[in-house]
């Protein structure tokens, strides 16, 4: 390190990989899947639009799971949809994260006694952050995303073990 250090300008610095926050790039460019299951989607769309501007966190919607880092499950998960969600989650490349948005995705919400609604998306896929509310305001969703970023910051290893 010593030799190279003196040959480069002063704004270049050297460190070891595990001393740097490993997912610095990922946490600042969480591309979320353009996907929603119910009315929480309206708040999700609002969060993505100019007033709340998800883009300033580097979060842009991707229309395919294969380019997504984050799945925001926005809304009621029926048994019919649950199979699709499971498949979409499987199509996302690692590392991948899930935010459960709103009461329905958290625990079934108002449809908890329905024959057709899964009581919580965490029954089929692992969830990183739960955002409460019915629906959560964009501020709440952004708070959830920032919590996820904090979580990513604390992940120590470059390669996360598959879950």
């Amino acid at each position: 390190m010593g030799l190279l250090e003196h040959k480069l300008p002063e704004n270049v610095f050297f460190t070891k990989l595990d001393q740097l926050t490993m997912r610095w790039g990922l946490r600042n460019s969480l591309w979320y899947m353009l996907f929603a299951t119910a009315c929480c989607a309206i708040e999700l769309m609002q969060t993505g639009m100019s007033r709340y501007d998800f883009d300033r966190f580097g979060m842009i919607p991707r229309a395919t799971p294969r380019q997504s880092d984050l799945m925001i499950v926005a809304g009621t998960v029926t048994y019919k949809m649950a199979l699709r969600i499971k498949r979409l989650y499987g199509q996302m490349p690692e590392p991948k994260y899930v935010i459960s948005m709103g009461s329905c995705a958290n625990c079934g919400g108002g449809f908890v006694h329905s024959y057709s609604v899964l009581n919580g998306v965490d029954k089929i896929i692992p969830v990183d952050v739960y955002v409460p509310g019915c629906p959560p305001r964009p501020e709440a969703l952004m708070e959830g995303c920032m919590k996820l970023m904090e979580k990513i910051d604390q992940e120590p290893r470059l390669v996360r073990s598959a879950r």
Binding site: Y79, A82, L83, H113, Y115, K123
Partner: protein, 156 residues
Amino acid sequence: MNRIEKIVKMIRKEEPEVLLRTEEEGQFPVLRVERDRVVPVLRLLRDDFGFESLMCETASDRGDRIDLIYHLFSTPHRETLVVKTVLSREKPQVETAEDVWKSANWYEREIFDLFGVEFIGHSDLVRILLPQDWVGHPLRKDYRPAPEYHGMKIEY
């Protein structure tokens, strides 16, 4: 004589053997028709009385029977008419109204999905809302869901 009485009189003239009954319940005049003649009566209502629109077709589980309910609307007369017919709960079958109003297609798929009514002559009688491999018809009063669906426990 109001218009509903006129309609009943005309139908009696055209189809003398049909059992008809009018009811005064709820918002709209109700015409009860026997099951086997309901589609000819609907066609007559469309062609001769201007009910060119099927607003809604639905069913209701009354415990001992299933009521099939058609809401018809006539734009020129600004008029709504309800046609009801009774199906047996054990084997609910009726002729499709798809040939009278195309929009009946999806309504009847929904009724099949949720009540298990079989529409004879329907072009594509498969479930419309629930998954194709779902067991049972949820709007039946005695419906109990299966314990699980593809490994997911159904907590009902």
